[in-house]
């Protein structure tokens, strides 16, 4: 059943939005991900992921304040919707189930290699 479709990057973006609770706008999200995952995130990839997630109904956006360093451009803050939470939980559960169901021997072998 493909109830919630969430890509790897999308999942990261959503979790970051949740982490940044109340302060999740483009640059903040970008910095947070870069810091935590130590990987480069381009504005384009991030923005299109945010849009996609909003379209799917996992995120909600609202206009925020305008600052000097943004040359008067407003920020766009994101927050997770209830539906988005369900999607995250679903993804997490499926991961957990998978982890639990791996026979011990497989992991042992893998690590012993």
């Amino acid at each position: 059943m493909k109830k919630f479709s969430l890509g790897e990057f999308e999942e990261v973006v959503m979790l970051t939005v949740a982490v940044l609770h109340g302060n999740a706008y483009g640059v903040a999200i970008k910095k947070e991900i870069e810091e935590r995952l130590s990987r480069k995130v381009s504005v384009g990839a991030l923005q299109s992921a945010l849009n996609r997630l909003e379209k799917k109904g996992y995120l909600l956006s609202k206009e925020g304040e305008q600052t000097q360093e943004r040359a008067g451009r407003p920020k766009r803050y994101f927050e997770i919707t209830a539906y988005g939470k369900m999607a995250l939980e679903y993804t997490r559960n499926t991961r957990n189930n998978l982890w639990e169901d791996i026979p011990k021997i497989v992991l042992d072998l893998k690590f012993s290699k």
Partner: protein, 872 residues
């Protein structure tokens, strides 16, 4: 902080491609990052960073959609048009099916006929020199009428080559195509072929698979068609192999050419051999002079010479050579050229003029196809307009909401174009399904011309035309409504729209009734001719052509063996098969013959004494040849037409002299006319005599023996006596039936098309009837409440249609009579069109109409008035 400005150009580019609703936020982010970067790695780094980021933003989610937010067109409305059009189709399902289905049927009929016509018109076009090849024809006058034949004397060919060659690239004498026996060691094959002079292969652009086009220089060479080569040699290389033609001409294969297609004059010609070989085998040809006509001559013009000029140059070429002969002065033979482009379609001659030929069927079927298509279009228009009135309210709403008229016009046009397009796709599918069957019916090998631009262009024009015509009424009439009136429910229909619709129905039924009459007449005519007394018995009559010399030397043995086998009742030989007249002669003289009378040709047929018994002719007076009576060897048996022509009261015993035999002959018997050539023509006056030009064996099977066993026994006798010749025979009844193929084909085709035409008309009528019934639902309800009976209502609703059909019958009858009378004129033996054909056709049309209409009218007459009055 002046120098901290990011590169403006890239921001502009970004603004240009970015979705407008996202632009301010993303730009804000970019600028914020720019400031950060500026602090961290200076101006250059920050600039590079932002440029890279902007480039990375050029991705599907960010770029603004092509259609979108603030355009100045109404693409958005198109979606709505589609939706509404689709819903309308689904809402009136029966109407949509009738409308689109009818049009699709009409279109596929038109496509099939178009393919047929295209094929007819494309005859011989596969020859490269199509534009410049012609056949030489000879015409002359006999007793006030002109004849035209393609048969020419050999001397004329030489004369043209010597004295008239300046206009021509090639002048080629050719034998008439004939079946010849080809032998390779033990294998024997009978195939048609032609002997032609040098250059023929080049002129007719033979498509050589192996060997060169000039490979017929040698006397003993031959070209084979690829199918003949395959039959003889299989996988072997045919080039250089030796063959024997007719068991006497040794030849070597020097070339193999691709078989000619069905629409070529050279179709089924399986070998081409040099004329010089033919001449060497038949040396007598050289002594024939200008009087014996038994060859064809083909020419190819030099570039820049017109057929007309070349024709004029050679016009008197034959006459100049024969003008010493007093008979020839009367006949005055003239020579002219018959261009290749006219060979197939204009091959009938009357009084020296081309009177058409197959072209009349091309016209006929084009007309029929056009009519069927017209019917379908009329249906389409009628139904489209009728049902579009239901949409007056929609127009009212659209206008109130702000539609301008041009938008409505566009909407209705688009709908009708879409429907025509769907119908066209259906028509292509239908055509594909029917193509095999149609090929069988028409005796052709047609294919869908997927790659032919003309086909697509024609289809496109047709789609545009039909879509335009049928869409125009709703587009212009409906879009002009006053929205207030339309929404109030004031119906816009009135006399203005009903009358054109009625006229269209009348046109439809006029065409249908004419087609019914035409088909009936064709069938009657064919049946009439089929039932014609033919003067001999054609059942169990077998004909075998004596193809090789062996037939003549071993005939006696063959005859005894066959008669002893018990399966043959009687057999004889004759000059030509009973299904054709091959020889005709003048030069007869008799007592009381008008001296001014020009030498009219009699059909002459050399026979053996048992011929009459074999074919079963019927005597009117006198007796048959007697095999033992020596005096009968100069006896004549003539047919009734000949007796009438000679003008004898009692022909038996009269004496007739003939310059051909230089003898005096006595008429010993008169037989009923035998139908030997065309069954549609008056029989030729015919003379049967005992002569020695015997080419055919006629065999009457013993009626008590099963045909199959009889045939196999005969074959075994043939193989025993004549092992070198394959046994090939023809049945007289099958040959006779062949003469009807063309007419039967026309009958069948026109029958099918008529059925379709009627079907399409009925579809339209059905649709209209249901439309009218629906419009008058309330009226019928009220009438019922006031006491009208079902019968009365049925009459009320059907009457309108019956009147229309009656009017069409009155228009159709004279048109059909005129056309069919014209058609029948081309047959000498023909029916008279009797009034009952018209009566029957009209009655048929009427019944069909009533049945079609009644289904709807009875349904609405039976409806419960409570329901019909309650609804809205």
């Amino acid at each position: 902080m002046k120098e901290s400005k990011p590169p403006g150009f890239f921001l502009t580019v970004f603004k240009w491609f970015c979705r407008p609703d996202l632009h301010p936020y993303i730009e804000g982010d970019l600028l914020e990052l720019y400031q950060d970067e500026l602090k961290r790695s200076g101006r250059l780094g920050a600039n590079l960073k932002i440029i890279l980021d902007i480039l990375m933003l050029f991705r599907p989610g960010i770029i603004k959609p092509i259609t979108g937010f603030h355009q100045l067109n109404h693409y958005g409305m198109f979606k709505n048009y589609f939706k509404i059009g689709w819903r309308n189709l689904l809402k009136n399902k029966s109407y949509s099916v009738i409308n689109i289905g009818g049009l699709a049927i009409g279109m596929s009929v038109a496509i099939l006929i178009g393919l047929w016509v295209w094929d007819e018109l494309s005859f011989n076009k596969n020859h490269d020199n199509y534009e410049r090849i012609a056949q030489v024809m000879r015409s002359g006058s006999l007793n006030g009428t002109q004849f035209t034949y393609p048969y020419l004397p050999y001397a004329l060919g030489e004369e043209l080559q010597n004295a008239y060659h300046e206009d021509f690239k090639h002048i080629i004498v050719a034998s008439l195509p004939s079946e010849n026996l080809i032998t390779k060691a033990n294998e024997k094959l009978i195939r048609s072929g032609i002997f032609m002079q040098k250059g023929a292969a080049e002129m007719f652009s033979f498509d050589m698979i192996s060997g060169t086009i000039n490979g017929l220089e040698d006397l003993h060479s031959i070209f084979l068609s690829s199918s003949a080569a395959l039959a003889l040699f299989g996988d072997e290389d045919p080039i250089g192999q030796s063959l024997t033609l007719d068991n006497e001409m040794a030849v070597q294969v020097t070339g193999v050419y691709k078989d000619f297609p069905q629409n070529s004059r050279l179709y089924n010609i399986d070998f081409l051999a040099p004329w010089s070989l033919y001449l060497a085998k038949n040396p007598w040809i050289r002594d024939q002079g200008f009087m014996n006509n038994f060859l064809n001559i083909y020419v190819e013009l030099k570039p820049g010479v017109s057929f007309h000029d070349a024709s004029n140059h050679i016009q008197e070429s034959l006459f100049n050579k024969v003008q010493d002969d007093p008979q020839m002065i009367k006949i005055h033979p003239l020579i002219h050229l018959h261009p290749m482009s006219k060979w197939h379609l204009y091959n009938e001659w009357e009084n020296g003029k081309s009177t058409g030929g197959l072209i009349k069927f091309v016209w006929l079927f084009s007309l029929v196809g056009l009519f069927v298509l017209l019917l379908a279009c009329i249906n389409f228009m009628n139904l489209s307009t009728a049902f579009s009135e239901k949409r007056a309210k929609e127009v009212g709403v659209r206008k109130s909401v702000g539609s301008i008229r041009s938008q409505l016009i566009f909407q209705f046009y688009m709908e009708s174009f879409l429907m025509v397009l769907v119908a066209f796709i259906l028509a292509i599918l239908l055509t594909l399904i029917c193509l095999n069957w149609f090929n069988e019916l028409s005796g052709k090998q047609l294919e869908m011309p997927w790659t032919n631009p003309h086909f697509w262009l024609g289809s496109l024009i047709f789609i545009a035309f039909t879509g335009f015509v049928s869409g125009s009424y709703p587009a212009f009439f409906l879009s002009a409504f006053n929205p207030v009136k339309a929404l109030k429910g004031i119906s816009p229909s009135g006399k203005k729209t009903v009358i054109p619709r009625r006229i269209l129905v009348i046109i439809q039924f006029t065409v249908s009734v004419s087609l019914i009459i035409g088909t009936l007449v064709v069938f009657k005519q064919v049946q009439f001719v089929k039932d014609r007394p033919i003067g001999y018995s054609r059942d169990n009559l077998l004909m075998v052509r004596m193809t090789t010399e062996e037939f003549y030397t071993k005939f006696e043995a063959l005859e005894t063996e066959l008669l002893n086998s018990g399966v043959v009742k009687v057999m004889s030989r004759s000059l030509s098969p009973v299904s054709a007249v091959w020889s005709s002669n003048g030069g007869f003289d008799w007592k009381g013959k008008d001296p001014d009378w020009q030498p009219e040709d009699f059909a002459t047929l050399a026979v053996t004494p048992h011929y009459g018994k074999t074919v079963g002719w019927q005597f009117v007076a006198g007796r048959d040849f007697h095999p033992q009576l020596a005096s009968d060897s100069t006896g004549f048996v003539i047919n009734e037409s000949a007796a009438k022509l000679m003008g004898f009261e009692d022909p038996v015993g009269e004496r007739v002299s003939w310059s051909g035999t230089r003898k005096n002959h006595t008429i010993i018997g008169v037989i009923k006319d035998m139908i030997m050539s065309s069954p549609y023509a008056t029989p030729m006056p015919t003379i049967f005599y005992q002569g020695d030009n015997l080419n055919w064996i006629n065999i009457r099977l013993n009626p008590e023996v099963n045909t199959q066993t009889g045939l196999s026994k005969i074959e075994s006798v043939f193989n025993k006596v004549l092992p070198a010749v394959p046994f090939k025979y023809k049945f007289a009844d099958q040959e006779y039936a062949m003469k009807f193929i063309a007419e039967e084909r026309i009958g069948n085709l026109s029958g099918v098309f008529t059925l379709l035409a009627i079907f399409i008309s009925c579809l339209g009528l059905f649709g209209l009837a249901s439309f009218v019934a629906e419009q008058r639902t309330k009226e019928i309800g009220i009438r019922k409440i006031l006491g009208a009976s079902t019968l009365k209502l049925w009459k009320l609703l059907s009457f309108d249609f019956i009147i229309l059909v009656l009017i069409s019958c009155f228009i159709a009858i004279p048109i059909a009579y005129y056309a069919m009378d014209n058609w029948l004129q081309s047959y000498e033996y023909r029916i008279h069109i009797s009034w009952w054909i018209f009566g029957l056709s009209s009655l048929g049309a009427m019944i069909i109409t009533l049945v079609t209409v009644s289904f709807q009218t009875i349904k609405s007459a039976l409806m419960n008035p409570v329901q019909s009055l309650r609804s809205d």
